[in-house]
Amino acid sequence: MAEAETRAAARSTEVGEDRLVSGLRKADPGACACLCEQFGPRIHKFTARHVRGDGQLAEEMMVQTLVDAVRNIGRFDPRRSQFSAWLFGIARRQVQGELRRQSRRKSVPASAQVSMDVLVEQAGPGDMAAAVASRLDAQRQVARLTSYLSDIEMEVLMLHCMDQLSLKEIAQIMGRSERAINSLLHRARQKARERLVNDD
């Protein structure tokens, strides 16, 4: 809860969307820097989740998302969506394109393997065994969750929980009504709760 409050406080200090968009339309370098600051880590987190920990690829996709946003800022219509939703929409299409390319390659990408570097970085050399066990346990839970929820429910849940996006933003990203997203999220949460309770 405290983390959420911190995030909200941080958001309040961010540059307003209107100013950011007008700066990007004028190709203002300061606005580009703001864009990186405000959205770079969030987009990276989003892309990294979908490419299963391939940090380099996630960063490339994040940068490409920001570049696409700058190039196509003329197409952004504030009356139709929020800027963050529009940006995540671009990132989502990047991810979908990448997943399509990966599926065509029909080989296991490097990102699908467990990254020991990340594990070491997070756990530290001392408690490696406990970290591996904890992670494998978490992965099992996520795998069960994924198989229990539909793709769209999972996606809505992730956008809401992981990316901290509002219902309105998710609706704009996914091209659905807010009510539909609310319903999906409600169902996803219910199912996830059931599954997680059963696992416990």
């Binding site: 339309r25 580009c32 989740r49 700058v70 196509n72 003329g74 990340v118 594990l119 839970q141 992730m158």
Partner: protein, 648 residues
């Protein structure tokens, strides 16, 4: 934003798949990439407007700007009317049923005249500006213009170059039009012993108000022009025949007979119609008419009604010769009588042999028939009451002077004449049977089909492009991702959309030209509309199964359209290019053939070996006088005189 459960899920996910931290220097790399990126100019709305504007301009340009001179206009005009190209057929229609000596084109009602009128008005100015020293173009413009004085001046210049013999015919014709006319009993083709017929002819002469005798002063310029033509073209009998008619009008009958015999001895009777048609087609195409329309229009633009005034004098002079021969027979001058008649027969045969047009051949046939009428006469069954006549619904019987003729020339010569007459009639029959295959419109229609289809396909292509431009600029990524249509299905849909247009091509291939225009007009737009509908609706059907779970049907439809329309467009383009090339080649071949082969040569080629040796059926003649000699022919009827030349 999220509650405890949400945070718990997030932690679980993070633990299962920790988010890799951003590599050091990521911001620098991102900023460097962003520094290269510039907002795209002319975003969605502007691009949409630009695409629409370009498409509309292309559409308008294709549809209207080149319309005044394009092949599409010529094609449509030919499909609607095909009037000028049917000249040969209409000539035949007037000449059918054994009325070959009345063969004369009827073009007064032709809607083509309206199309030619602007060219008539501009012809002189155009040629003076661009082709002032080209005798072929001078001749064509001199014939085309409706300004008689300016036309005569152009034709005179063409004649004076001495490089283009075909200029003489229209030049002399223009001089004759300005010259005097006369009316004399001999030109009516009555029997001198038929007092009733003579009285009727004299009554008609009085009513016409024309003099019975020409004045030498008025006739001198016409005779000078005709004699200049003779000097320039000594092997051609036509100017000699024209001279004979004017000498007869001057009542210099002995000289007229002499010129008639001389004309009969010459091998060629040529009014250069073929050459002048080519010149006219060249002029019209240079003036902006499409080439194939110029060719089909050249028949009328050469002014056949006026031009055919070179033919009525031939028929009139044949009647004069028959009349004068009969007068000589009555007056006891048998050699003169035979000279008049045999001269006419020879002239008719030479005309048939040297004709370059159907009308020339038919008039030759008529001249031969008129010359031979005293000894052999074709009688239709309806006149004689004897059924199953094998020669165009009739037979040959003795003419009224048959015995006299045989006594003078012998039975063998008489039999040769009879066979020649029957062969001529049989050739007429072959012409009638094969005219549809040989006439010009056949080639027109063959060229028309691929042209029409090619252009239609191109128009379809433009419409699809317009649609594609509209769809392509509207939320394209969203649409692309809303569908998962496989490549095979994209190809299938693209191909099926083209099938209706393609099937019209296949459906029309085996059809003959008769009635093709209206069918094409109905089916081609239908095929286009069907292709268009299929191109739109098949992607919609496919969208039901190809759409992503989260996508709406309409979005998936747009995505499918974006993916299938380029294939349809590419196929249409291929068809269009292929048909265009085929049409070009066919058109070029058609034009080449037209310039290479004259009308008569085309007809003879279409008929084949039967033309050289037409079958002579049994019972095609009878060695007897017809049952009712007064009823069958026109011996008792008064024929048109010199005053009746031309029907315009």
């Amino acid at each position: 934003m999220t509650d405890d459960f949400g945070n718990k899920v997030a932690e679980l996910m993070e633990k299962a798949e920790p988010t890799p931290s951003l590599r050091s220097g990521w911001k620098g790399r991102a900023l460097a990439a962003l520094a290269q990126a510039r907002p795209a100019r002319g975003a969605s709305r502007g691009r949409w407007i630009a695409n629409t504007a370009v498409a509309v301009i292309v559409l308008v340009a294709l549809g209207f700007v080149p319309y005044s001179t394009s092949t599409s206009k010529g094609m449509m005009a030919a499909a609607e009317q095909a009037a000028a190209a049917d000249m040969a057929a209409r000539t035949w229609e007037t000449a059918s049923g054994g009325e070959a000596d009345r063969a004369e084109p009827r073009v007064e009602e032709s809607p083509e005249e309206e199309r030619i009128a602007p060219y008539r008005r501009r012809a002189v100015e155009f040629v003076e500006r661009h082709y002032a020293n080209d005798p072929e173009m001078l001749t064509a413009a001199g014939s085309l213009t409706d300004d008689g004085k300016a036309g005569l001046a152009l034709l005179k210049r063409a004649v004076e170059t001495g490089k283009y013999p075909a200029a003489w015919a229209p030049y002399v014709l223009r001089v004759m039009q300005a010259g005097p006319r006369y009316d004399r009993v001999g030109a009516y083709g009555v029997d001198p012993e038929d007092l009733e017929g003579l009285a009727e002819a004299e009554k008609l002469i009085r009513e016409s108000g024309l003099p019975a005798k020409l004045s030498p002063e008025e006739t001198a310029p016409v005779l000078a022009a005709i004699r200049a033509w003779q000097a320039a073209d000594p092997q051609n009998a036509l100017p000699v025949v024209l001279e004979m008619t004017y000498l007869y009008g001057l009542h210099e009958d002995a000289q007229a007979l002499s010129r008639w015999e001389y004309a009969a001895s010459l091998p060629v009777v040529n009014n250069y119609l073929g050459d002048r048609l080519r010149a006219m087609a060249r002029l019209l195409s240079r003036m902006g008419m499409s080439q194939w329309q110029a060719i089909s229009t050249s028949y009328l633009a050469t002014d056949l009604p006026t031009d055919s005034r070179l033919y009525p004098p031939l028929r009139t002079s044949s009647r004069i010769a028959t009349y004068e021969g009969r007068v000589a027979q009555i007056e006891g001058r048998p050699k003169d009588a035979i000279a008049w008649w045999n001269g006419t027969i020879s002239l008719g045969q030479h005309m048939q042999d040297s004709a370059d047009s159907l009308i020339g051949f038919l008039v030759g046939l008529a001249v031969e028939g008129i010359g031979a009428s005293p000894t052999w006469r074709w009688c239709p069954d309806r006149m004689t009451g004897i059924p199953n006549g094998p020669v165009m619904g009739g037979r040959y019987f003795y003419g009224p002077q048959h015995a006299f003729y045989v006594a003078q020339v012998g039975e063998a010569a008489d039999a040769r004449l009879r066979d020649s007459l029957i062969k001529g009639k049989m050739r007429s029959q072959l012409l009638r049977e094969n005219l549809r295959r040989a006439k010009l419109t056949w080639s027109d229609m063959r060229a028309l089909k691929p042209l029409a289809l090619g252009l239609s396909a191109a128009e379809l292509l433009v419409l699809l492009l317009l649609l594609f431009a509209a769809i392509g600029t509207w939320a394209r990524r969203q649409a692309d991702e809303a569908t998962g249509l496989r490549l095979l299905w994209k190809l299938v849909i693209g191909l099926v959309a083209v099938l209706p247009v393609a099937s019209t091509v296949i459906a029309f291939r085996p059809l003959m030209p008769g009635g093709l225009d209206s069918q094409m007009a109905a089916v081609i737009p239908g095929g286009l509309a069907l292709s268009f509908l299929v191109a739109l609706l098949l992607p919609l059907l496919a969208a039901r199964s190809s759409r992503r779970p989260s996508a709406r049907l309409a979005t998936a439809w747009r995505g499918n359209l974006r993916q299938t329309l380029p294939i349809t467009i590419a196929l249409c383009a291929l068809i269009s290019v292929g048909l265009g090339i085929a049409a070009k080649m066919l058109h070029a071949k058609w034009v080449r053939e037209w310039y290479k082969h004259e009308e008569m040569a085309r007809v003879v080629r279409a008929i084949g070996p039967a033309w050289a040796n037409p079958p002579i059926p049994a019972d095609s003649w009878r060695a007897e006088y017809p049952p009712e000699p007064r009823a069958e022919g026109r011996s008792g009827q008064v024929q048109r005189g010199m005053r009746g030349r031309g029907r315009r």
